[in-house]
Symmetry: C2
Subunit: 616 residues, 2 copies
């Protein structure tokens, strides 16, 4: 019987599937929670999936009833009715999932004095009369300026399109939202003034609904970035957009659709109206920033890798297709360079690292990892291609931090202790679990400092092509295949962590500093939040300095977005940060290659100018 | 055999049609030039028409082949295959016409020094490099400011969306269009900087393509206002928009579609690209202004009749759906009041009447007639409901100034001499022809000063319900019915001209001036351009002052739009004019009713405070 490899997105779990096994069975065997109320009869229609690539069996009669021919053409199928005919990649929409992926929306709490870009004013108007037939817009502006001592001179065209009937229905009393001398929204009096902060990550989107008057977070919500359909990493999405302008437009549209859905969900949570959102701030890396704005990305991908724009922008929400208040703006923090975006500016803003005393490192770990060194008022930044291993890619049993992912591992003699997301039965292993496991294997002598797996442990066995360490045996998984760490998995982690450590060392070497001089390290990003820092030090991913100098700051980019949302001073700080950064192209640094090789080793060590020195 | 009345739009011609007579035959019998290449066989499909109201015969097989069921539902038919089943109203699209209607695009020549809102700059850039990987937008702004000593700080988002690939394809050389410190367009170097001026009339649209560097008119084009499908006059269109928000949106969309078509045609004429149009100015009466911008009109139609906005506006062309340069703006001159719009401001601007010495009258005659009295630096304005009689409506053989319309009439004893538009065989009679005819009949004593038609002339006969004067007898029309002026036609003209004369007299009475003190009268608008002023005086429409004090200024509103397009000073003047105007509600003026009654009389006379005094 032929066996195919099936990838389930967006969770990122892959596994084998026989040609006579339905995709639903395959998912369940892997521990993936796809809904199936009818038990695979094809009648409940709860196991909808979408074929992204590859070939599967022809649609059954049941499926032809459920889906239009258009939908079938788009790859929509029922998992219980469908069998693989090649290796294939599938999208499991969130409504078909029984469990949801952990998306990080928590982070530092804000302690910023609100100084919002949009101010609300209560207005009572007399209304026009035959003796004073003043036009509605002029009537409003005149009274607004008179009653509140302002100098407004513009009313947004979309506000103007609603103003006359609204003022009449509200009996000439309203709340007016003013931004930079422009009336950008009207509401009945009293209305809330809400703001939207978004961290648009390559894989995940985190969104927050904020009360602009006091900076409180009223609701928060995470979702997958739907662009993942067009490629897991930035480069493949940029390639899609370059190859086909239509795909570039689609990338923009699906992102905005996802944001509009998040906005609707956030508003539903607190019984708010989307028109109450009078300002938004969106941060993301430069590619996400460009794709969201519909800016060209070709020049980002080709030498000399320049953004279309770096400075901070204020763009009408309607020009992006975002449905919030009629005349609202979206503020974009400045980008730093082609591979260091506004999300890193937001992170520096949120951690206050950019104005820290002493020598500070700030890392945002992800598929792309940005590292900044702040010293003596100067900021130097590198971008490291750490790859998607921490998201579970290229790892045999890797997966994202969804339900059932092993996220913590401890090895005591032959015994393995582990912890899974949601305490669910183990399905695979996510980034922090892999890091823990490899640190533990190194400490136990199962792996040497070069990363070679030794046959010195009862749990090490020879797999089909390579050695592997059995984390959870088949006997513990009621007959399902064991979950293992392979020799190749160790190599993948070494590449990823070496990239990060190299970035840190190049920054230190360039500034002439040593590891020991670092007074604090701020680690942001979902992976960075959940890792065990001592495991990261044990693997040599992070320099071996006292643990109390590390701070795991959660979704700092999201926090920075919130700060820029509620405070004009913080926006000015953002511009100051971006202008102060010196960007270093990592590959062109002296000693880069030598440093990269040395940083691949496991263990605690110092590196200077490419020379490694072990620490006991 | 039943006989129905059929109205042909947009020409405005109506006639009788028997139930067994095709609409094509009816049109041809009336002299309307509907194309028919196959001679009514239903095979050439050139006689497409659209049923606007009423009932007609069911579609034939031929028609079902030509039109989709959607199109048939929208009333599309072939005139040669269709027979009336009730009175009905039809739209004859311009492509089905063999002749076109005269639309006035000529007017005063401009003598304004160009001072355009958009300036063009030539730029040569170095392009980014690995050692200077500056973002494209910042690179452009920096060099623009440096090379040309500017202070630009913004690039329009739609310009930014094109900038990176454009700069590369143009090898880093371009022309940059700057408006108020914002980059609103990019083009290859060298490009033209074009401007679009539009006079959006209730019935007709006049459009002009201008070279912004020197103010030259490069092309001009007129078309019917497609809103006419929703009603001939402003009030019926406002009613449509109030009754159904969907219709309001349609009114905006079809207007913008018509403008986009005119833009495409104008550009085709001079082999220009629509992206070369970097600024537009649109003027129209307040209702046209509001419908074009998608502003609400309900409050315009209900007491106290206030506009949504009166002040001058600058709106991104994309926010209106107008396809010109990526970041271009549309400038709207200020409105004065609910029934006096930006077109009157443009007219005052164009004639320079607003800063004339002596006592000046400025009239823009149309379905709605605006009259301003300028004296001692003050401007007083009224709006007169003159109605559509001058457009041929409510006149038995009335029509607009299309091919075959009788536009001049002379009566010498029993002989009629006449002139038609395009010197085509007579089809009906347009506004200037009616005015001439009634002046001549009054002078010949066929009509008395009260407007009563006397039986003292051989050409007067008793029609079915009333007396009528035979302008062209059946014997001269090879069997087709005679073209006549009826007693009712005289009454219609009296109402229309009385409204205008009343406006003039109320302004004079309010200011305390007499007719003789008027030093000049500027008459604008299509009808105003083609009328014989002495006929207008003879009928009492205009005061009896020496002919050399009158000036027929053509499409002055269009000229004013051109001026505001090329000169920022003229825009400032426009704002000054609007702010200086005192608007008088005509019906609330003392002596209004008495004046209106007296102004209905024919002949040369003075009126003061409602008392009429004949002049020999």
């Amino acid at each position: 019987m032929t066996v195919y490899i099936v990838y389930f997105e967006p969770v990122g779990r892959k596994g084998e599937c026989r040609a006579n096994q339905s995709l639903l069975d395959c998912a369940h065997r892997l521990g993936m929670g796809i809904a199936s109320l009818c038990g695979g009869q094809g009648t409940c229609h709860s196991c909808k999936i979408q074929l992204l690539s590859g070939t599967v069996s022809a649609p059954t009669g049941n499926e032809r009833e459920v889906f239009s021919s258009e939908e079938l053409k788009d790859g929509w199928r029922l998992a219980c009715q469908t069998y693989p005919a090649s290796d294939c990649k599938l999208n499991v929409p969130s409504e078909s999932m029984t469990t949801t992926q952990r998306t990080q929306v928590e982070g530092l709490e804000i302690t910023v004095a609100p100084e919002p870009p949009v101010q609300a004013y209560h207005l009572k108007l007399a209304g026009p009369s035959l003796s004073n037939p003043q036009a509605d817009a002029e009537h409003l502006l005149q009274e607004l300026n008179h009653q509140h001592h302002l100098h407004c001179n513009r009313v947004d065209i979309d506000v103007m399109r609603l103003l006359s009937p609204q003022l009449r229905s509200w009996k000439w009393q309203c709340q007016t939202s003013v931004r930079d001398n422009e009336v950008i929204a009207l509401g009945p009096w009293p209305s809330r003034q809400l703001g939207l902060a978004v961290d648009l990550g390559t894989t995940k989107i985190a969104s927050y609904l904020i009360d602009l008057s006091d900076g409180r977070t009223l609701a928060s919500k995470g979702d997958m970035n739907p662009q993942i359909r067009y490629g897991e990493d930035i480069i493949s999405r940029i390639s899609s957009a370059i190859k086909s302008p239509k795909k570039g437009v689609q990338l923009q549209q699906i992102t905005v659709e996802a944001l509009n859905q998040l906005v609707a969900d956030l508003c539903a949570d607190i019984h708010a109206n989307t028109e109450e959102i009078v300002e938004a701030v969106v941060v993301g890396n430069t590619a996400m920033h460009h794709l969201f704005l519909g800016l060209p990305v070709r020049q980002l991908a080709l030498s000399p890798f320049v953004p279309a724009v770096t400075s901070a922008l204020d763009i009408k929400a309607r020009d992006l297709g975002l449905h919030i208040a009629a005349g609202a703006y979206v503020h974009l923090l400045p980008n730093i360079a082609g591979f260091v975006g506004a999300d890193h500016v937001a992170m520096l803003l949120a951690t206050d690292a950019w104005q820290a005393e002493g020598i500070t490192l700030a890392l945002d770990i992800g598929t792309n990892t940005e590292v900044s060194l702040i010293a003596g008022g100067k900021i130097t930044t590198v971008s490291c291609a750490s790859g998607p291993a921490f998201e579970g890619y290229h790892i045999k049993h890797g997966m994202r931090a969804a339900s059932g992912a092993i996220e913590r591992v401890q090895l005591a003699d032959d015994n393995i202790q582990y912890q899974t997301v949601d305490k669910a039965p183990p399905v695979g292993i996510c980034g922090s679990g892999i890091l823990d496991a490899i640190a533990q294997l190194y400490l136990a002598g199962v792996i040497n400092e070069g990363g070679r797996m030794l046959q010195s442990h009862p749990r090490v066995r020879n797999g089909q092509k390579q050695r592997e360490f059995v984390l959870i045996g088949d006997e513990e998984r009621s007959g399902q295949p064991a979950i293992v760490i392979t020799q190749q998995d160790v190599r993948e982690l070494q590449l990823a962590k070496s990239a990060i450590r190299t970035g840190i060392q190049v920054l230190l070497d360039t500034g002439g500093y040593s590891e020991d001089e670092i007074s604090q390290v701020a680690i942001a990003g979902a992976f960075g939040t959940y890792i065990d820092v001592s495991s990261a030090i044990t693997t040599g991913m992070l320099p071996a300095i006292p643990l109390n100098r590390f701070q795991q700051v959660g979704n700092a980019a999201g926090m920075g977005a919130k700060m820029a949302l509620i405070s004009l001073s913080k926006r000015a700080d953002g511009a100051a940060v971006a202008s102060r950064v010196r960007y270093i192209e990592l590959a062109s640094a002296p000693d880069f290659t030598q440093t990269f090789v040395q940083a691949g080793y496991l263990g605690r060590y110092r590196i200077r100018h490419g020379n490694r020195e072990k620490i006991d």
